[in-house]
C-alpha cells in the first residue's frame, strides 16, 4: 500500500464514509458472496465478508453416501474443473484400500486433469479481462473450452458435472472419437491460446489496470495457507504435483511458474504459463500413453460389465456386493491432496470400516484463501477490488461446500 493511500485511510472523515453492499448477487462477484464495504469516495477502508450462501453440507451428506456416490458431490466443489475433484477423490479411496493403478490409467488421468486445469485457468483469465473491460477476450476462449467439454463428454457423457472415472480407473477407454478430438485440440489450441494471450498479456490498458491490484506478499500468503496459482504469483513455488507427485506426475517434464508481486497481473501471468505447461504435460502423456487396461483389477469396487453380470456367476456376486455395500473396507485415516485449479485440494477421509466415510473433510483452497481478501483490497478503489476477486478465482461451490 502506498503512503498516500494510507493517508486516505487515516484521514477518512466519518461523515464521508459510506457503507455499501458488494454482492451477494452482483454481476462482478461471479457467484454469490457478499462483501460489506466501508468506502471513502472510491477507496475501500474496510470490508466484511459473508460466505455460505450456497452451503450444501457436503461433508454431512458424505457421511451417508457410499464411496462411489461421493464422486458426484465432488463435481460440485470447483465446477470449473470437476474432473480434478473427481479423480482426487478416487485416488483418496484407492489410497485407503491400497490398489496398484495401471500406468495407462495414471496417464489417462493426467491428461484429463490437465485438460481440466486448462479449462479452469482459461475461464479465470478471460474473466479477469472482462472485469478490466475487455469482453472480446472472454468470448474467444469459450470455443476452446467447448472443445475440452466435448472431450469430457466423450469420456463421461457429461460436460460440467462430469462424475469422471471410477474407483480403480475409468468407466471406458479413450474412444476413437476422443483420440481424434484430442489430437485436433493439441494441434489447434496453442495458436488460439497465443492469440488470446496477445490480446491481454502485453496490452497497455490491461497492464495498467491489473498491475498493483490486490497484491499480497509471500509471507502473508503463506500465513494464510494460500496454495495454487495465487501463492505462486506471490513468488512461492509450491505445487502439489511436484512436492508430492501423484498419478505419475514425476514422469513428466514441466516447470512451475512463479510471479513476483502477488498482484492481479502476476496471477494472470502465472495461470497463462500454467496453461502452456499443462499442454506440455498432456502432449508428453499422450505421446507416451502406455498400453494396457483402462481400469485396475479391483472387482470389489469396480462394477463388472453388464454382459458379465448376466452371464457370469462371479460378476453377479460382485455386482450384488458392490450395490448392497457388502464390501469390506479398511479402517484408517488418509489424507490425499491433488493440485486443483485453485490450489491444494485435499481429502481427509476417516473410515471406521463402514460403507460410508465416518468423516470426510474437503480441504478447499478457495475457502482458505478467500479470508485474505479484505487485507488484499484495503485502500484500493472498488474497481480494483472487482479485479482482485476475479483474479483469485473464488468459486462459490468450492468456497461454501
Amino acid at each position: 500500500m502506498s503512503q498516500d493511500l494510507k493517508d486516505v485511510i487515516q484521514a477518512a472523515d466519518p461523515a464521508n464514509v459510506a457503507t455499501i453492499n458488494f454482492g451477494p448477487t452482483h454481476p462482478s462477484t461471479h457467484g454469490i458472496f457478499q462483501n460489506i464495504l466501508k468506502v471513502d469516495g472510491e477507496k475501500i477502508i474496510s470490508s466484511e465478508q459473508t460466505v455460505g450462501y450456497i452451503h450444501r453440507a457436503f461433508e454431512k451428506l458424505a457421511e451417508r453416501r457410499p464411496y462411489n456416490q461421493i464422486t458426484p458431490i465432488t463435481d460440485r466443489l470447483n465446477y470449473c474443473s470437476s474432473p480434478i475433484n473427481n479423480i482426487g477423490w478416487e485416488m483418496t479411496v484407492e489410497k485407503l484400500i491400497g490398489v496398484d493403478i495401471p500406468k495407462r490409467v495414471q496417464y489417462m488421468r493426467v491428461i484429463i486433469m490437465e485438460l481440466a486445469r486448462i479449462a479452469d485457468h482459461l475461464i479465470c483469465n478471460s474473466v479477469i479481462g472482462v472485469d478490466a473491460g475487455a469482453l472480446t477476450s472472454f468470448f474467444y476462449p469459450f470455443s476452446e473450452r467447448e472443445k475440452i467439454y466435448e472431450l469430457y463428454e466423450e469420456l463421461s457423457g457429461a460436460r460440467l458435472t462430469t462424475n469422471m472415472g471410477r474407483i480403480g480407473g475409468f468407466e471406458r477407454d479413450f474412444t476413437p472419437v476422443f483420440h481424434q478430438k484430442l489430437k485436433s485440440f493439441l494441434k489447434t489450441f496453442p495458436k488460439a491460446f497465443e492469440e488470446f494471450d496477445s490480446m491481454l498479456a502485453r496490452n497497455r490498458i490491461f497492464m495498467d489496470r491489473t498491475k498493483g491490484a490486490g497484491p499480497i506478499s509471500a509471507e502473508r500468503a503463506l500465513s494464510y495457507s494460500f496454495s495454487g496459482p495465487n501463492l505462486r504469483a506471490a513468488g512461492v513455488d509450491y505445487d502439489v504435483r511436484a512436492m508430492n507427485p501423484y498419478s505419475s506426475y514425476e514422469d513428466f517434464d514441466f516447470i512451475i511458474p512463479v510471479g513476483v508481486n502477488g498482484d492481479t497481473y502476476d496471477r494472470f501471468m502465472v495461470r497463462q504459463e500454467e496453461i502452456r505447461q499443462s499442454l506440455r504435460i498432456i502432449t508428453q502423456a499422450y505421446n507416451n500413453l502406455p498400453e494396457g487396461d483402462y481400469k485396475a483389477d479391483l472387482p470389489d469396487f469396480y462394477l463388472p460389465a453388464k454382459s458379465d453380470v448376466y452371464n457370469n456367476m462371479e460378476a453377479l456376486i460382485y455386482h450384488f456386493k458392490i450395490v448392497m455395500g457388502e464390501t469390506e473396507l479398511p479402517v484408517g485415516e488418509v489424507y490425499h491432496a491433488v493440485e486443483g485449479g485453485n490450489g491444494e485440494l485435499g481429502y481427509y477421509l476417516i473410515s471406521d470400516g463402514g460403507r460410508t466415510p465416518y468423516r470426510l473433510q474437503f480441504r478447499r483452497p478457495c475457502f482458505i484463501y478467500y479470508q485474505a481478501y479484505p487485507e488484499m483490497i484495503k485502500g484500493l478503489p472498488i474497481s480494483d477490488a472487482v479485479l482482485t476477486l476475479s483474479s483469485i478465482n473464488v468459486i462459490a461451490g468450492e468456497l461454501d461446500a
Binding site: V51, V334, E344, R355, R359
Partner: protein, 173 residues
Amino acid sequence: MEKQNNQEYLTAIQAAFGADVLAHEEAFGMLNVELTPARIHDAIAWLQQHQDLSVNYLTNIAGIHYPDAAGREFAVVYQLHSWKNNLRLRIKGYLPKENLHIATITDLFAGANWMERETYDFFGIIFDGHPDLRRILNMDDMDYFPMRKEYVLEDATREDKDDRFFGRNNNEL
C-alpha cells in the same frame, strides 16, 4: 542437511513435550501425534519455529465427533506440512463434551481464522482467543452444531436406512 523423517519428528516432539504426548501412530505414512489439548498451541508454535523440523504450512483443521468415546468425544485435528522436509503430520487433541475449549492458533497462522470458525460452526468447539468466533457457513441464528453425530439424517420412520445398511453393526438407532 538430511531430510528428517517421521521417526525423527516423533523423537523430537517426545523429547520436547514428554508426558504431553499421549499417543502416536503412523497412518498411511503420515505421522499422527496426540497431545494434551492445552499444549497444542505451544507445540505448533514450537514446530513452526524449530530450525530443522520447520513446519511452515497449515494444511487444514478438522473436527471429529466420537459420541461413544467417554471423556474424549471431540477431536480437533491439525494437519501440518513441513516443506523443508516435505513431511506432513497430524496433531490431534481430544476434548470432553463438557469442556470444548482449545487455544486458537490464529496468532501462528492467519489462515487458521476461517478454519477454526468452520470447526466451531460444525462442531461447537470453542477456540479461546479467536478474534471473531462466529458461524461461517451456516446461519447466525442456528442453535445446533450440524456435524455432530446426534441427528438422524433420514426420515426416522424409515426402516431401510439405518446404520446396519451402512456396514455398521449398531442396533441402537
